[in-house]
C-alpha cells in the first residue's frame, strides 16, 4: 500500500484500484451543514450512493458527525469513493471537529447569512484555519468552497456585501444557498469538485492514466435526477 507523505486522506489502494476522497462540511452551529448533506442525499443520483449515516444527534444538533458515501467506477476500472462528512458546529465539540478534519481533501464551509451570525461565521472560520494547521494541512493549498446558506432567511446580509467582503481571499466568489429548499446545495458541491479535481489529477493522473476528465469527474459525481 502506498503511504503518502502528507496529511490528506485521498488514498489509493492499488490491489483494489480504489481511491477514497474525504470532503468535510464545516461551519458554525446551526448553519445548515447537516441539511446540505441531507439534500445531497436526496438530490444526487450518482452511479452509487450509500446510506446517509446520521451518527448521533441531540435536538437535531450533530454530536459526532454525519457521513454520506458516494461511489463511482471509472471505465478504466478505478473505484472512486467520495466520503462527505459534517462536523458538529457547536463550540464545545472542537476535538471532534479536529478528529473529523484529519486527512481532509476538501472543505465546504457553510456560513450563516443571518446578520446576527456574522461573528459566529468568523470565529468558525478561524477555528477551521486553526484546526487545519493542527492536523498539518495548509489552508492555502486546500480545495475550499465558502457557502453562505439561509439566503431565504428574512434580513439575510446582501450578496453584494458578502461577495465584496470576501473578494480579496482565495475563496472568492462565494456560493449562495438556501439548503432548506435544496437551492445552491448541488452547485456548491460542484464548485468544490472543480477545485478538487486538479489536486487529485496532479497526484493520481486521473486524466492521463484513468481517462477521467475534469468535466466527467464533476458531472458523474454530481449527477442529479
Amino acid at each position: 500500500m502506498i503511504k503518502k507523505a502528507f496529511a490528506n486522506m485521498s488514498e489509493y489502494i492499488p490491489h483494489e484500484r480504489k481511491l477514497t476522497i474525504k470532503v468535510v462540511y464545516y461551519g458554525p452551529a446551526l448553519s445548515g451543514k447537516t441539511t446540505n448533506l441531507m439534500q445531497l442525499h436526496t438530490l444526487l443520483q450518482p452511479q452509487r450512493k450509500g446510506e446517509l449515516m446520521v451518527l448521533e444527534t441531540r435536538d437535531d444538533r450533530t454530536l459526532f458527525f454525519d457521513m454520506l458515501p458516494i461511489g463511482l467506477r471509472s471505465e478504466s476500472g478505478l473505484e472512486l469513493r467520495l466520503k462527505l462528512y459534517t462536523v458538529p458546529g457547536q463550540v464545545q465539540h472542537d476535538s471532534t471537529r479536529k478528529a473529523v478534519l484529519a486527512r481532509v481533501d476538501g472543505v465546504i464551509f457553510v456560513a450563516d447569512s443571518q446578520p446576527a451570525q456574522q461573528d459566529n461565521n468568523a470565529n468558525a472560520f478561524d477555528n477551521l484555519a486553526d484546526n487545519l494547521q493542527k492536523v498539518g494541512i495548509d489552508i492555502e493549498n486546500l480545495p475550499l468552497v465558502v457557502q453562505f446558506n439561509k439566503r431565504d432567511a428574512p434580513g439575510a446580509v446582501g450578496e453584494g456585501e458578502l461577495q465584496s467582503r470576501w473578494s480579496d481571499t482565495p475563496w472568492s466568489p462565494l456560493c449562495m444557498a438556501a439548503a432548506i429548499n435544496g437551492e445552491g446545495v448541488v452547485e456548491s458541491y460542484r464548485v468544490l469538485l472543480e477545485r478538487l479535481y486538479p489536486v487529485l489529477d496532479r497526484e493520481f493522473q486521473l486524466a492521463e492514466v484513468e481517462h477521467i476528465s475534469a468535466d466527467a469527474f464533476v458531472r458523474q459525481l454530481s449527477r442529479v435526477g
Binding site: 452509487r48 446510506e51 448521533e56 457521513m67 478528529a99
Partner: protein, 374 residues
Amino acid sequence: MRNFDDDPALAELLAPERQQDLLRLLQGVTGHRFALSDQPQADAETVEFNLDGVAWLSCAADPQLQAPTARLIEFILTYVGKYRLAANLHHDIAEASFAELQRQHAALQDSEARYRQLSEQLQAQVAAQVKVIEQTQQELYESARLRAIGQLAAGVAHEINNPIGFISSNLRVAEDYVKEIKQGIAGDSAFNALIEDFQALLKESASGTQRIASIVSDLKTFSNIDQADFISCDLNDLLHTSCHLLQAEFSHMLDIELQLGNIGSISGYPAKLSQVFFNVLDNAAKAVEGKGRIRVISRQGAAGHPEVVIEDNGCGISTASLERIFDPFFTTRPVGSGTGLGLTVARETMMAHQGEISIRSREGIGTRVTLKFG
C-alpha cells in the same frame, strides 16, 4: 494506527463468534445453513457496508435466500457500523486529548520549575537588596551624624578663630611690653622673679593658643572637603613627604620601613591625603614610643585598586577603644595631647575619595591600618 474513518473489515464490525451467532439465528429462521466469508466467493451475495463489499454470503441449500438475507445483514451492519464509527471516533478523540493533556502537563511542570527558580532568584535578590538598604541606612545615619557634628565643629571653629586671633596677637604685644618693663626695672630683684614668671605664663599661653588654632584647623578639615578640588596625586610621593614631616617631628628617631609598590596615581586632594597619612603615621609613632618599628606598604589591592597599609608593633589598641576609634573627639591619650579628631578626619577624607579605612589591632602586639582607595 488505524483511523476512525478507515473502512472497517467484517471482523471489525462483527467478531467471529458474533458471526457464528448470526448464522445460527439465520438457520433457525430459514432452516438452512449459511456461510459468511470476508473474501469474494463465486456465486455468493455481496454484503456491503458504505458501498464496500465486506462479506460474501452463500446458502448452498437455497441460493434464492442469499440476496434478501444479505440485505438483512446490511441493515444490521449499518447500526453496528454507526456504533463502531462513534466508538472509534471517541477513542481517537480520547487519545488525542490525553496526548494533549500530557503535553500540557509537561509544559506546566516546566513552567512551574522555571517559576520556582525565578522565585528563588527573586528571594535572593530581595535579601541582597535588603542588605544594601540596611547598610545604606547605617551609612546614611552615620554620615548624617558626622555632618551634624561637622556643622557644629565648623560653627565652633569659626567662632573661636576670631578671639584666638586677637588673643595670640595680644599675647605677642604683651610679651613685648613685659620685655620693656623688665628693662625699665632693671636690677630690682623683688620684681625680677615676678616678671620672669609672667614671661613664662605668657609663653605657655601663646603655645596654648597655638594648639587651639591647630584644633580649629582640624575641625575645619573635618567639616569640609570638596571633590571639586581633586587633582592627580601620587600616593607614594605623599607617603614620602608625610614620613619626612613625621621624622622631623620626632627628631629623626623613628624606625620607618618603606615598601612602596607601583600603584600609579589617583584623583584626590593631596593636602587632605597627606594629612590622613600623617595622622595615621603620628598614631603609629606614638604607639611605638621610640622602641618599635613602623612599616609603610603601598600596593595594588583587590580589583586593581591601590591600597596603603601602615603597621606598627607598638602598644596596640584595646578592643573597647577599637570600637570607638572613629568617634569624633575620642582619644586614649592624656587631655591636651590631641584633638581626638585625627582618625575621624582620616575616615571622612577616605570616604570623600571613595575609599575606606580599617584598623586591626591587638594590645601589646601592634596595629595595622589599611587604607583602600576605590
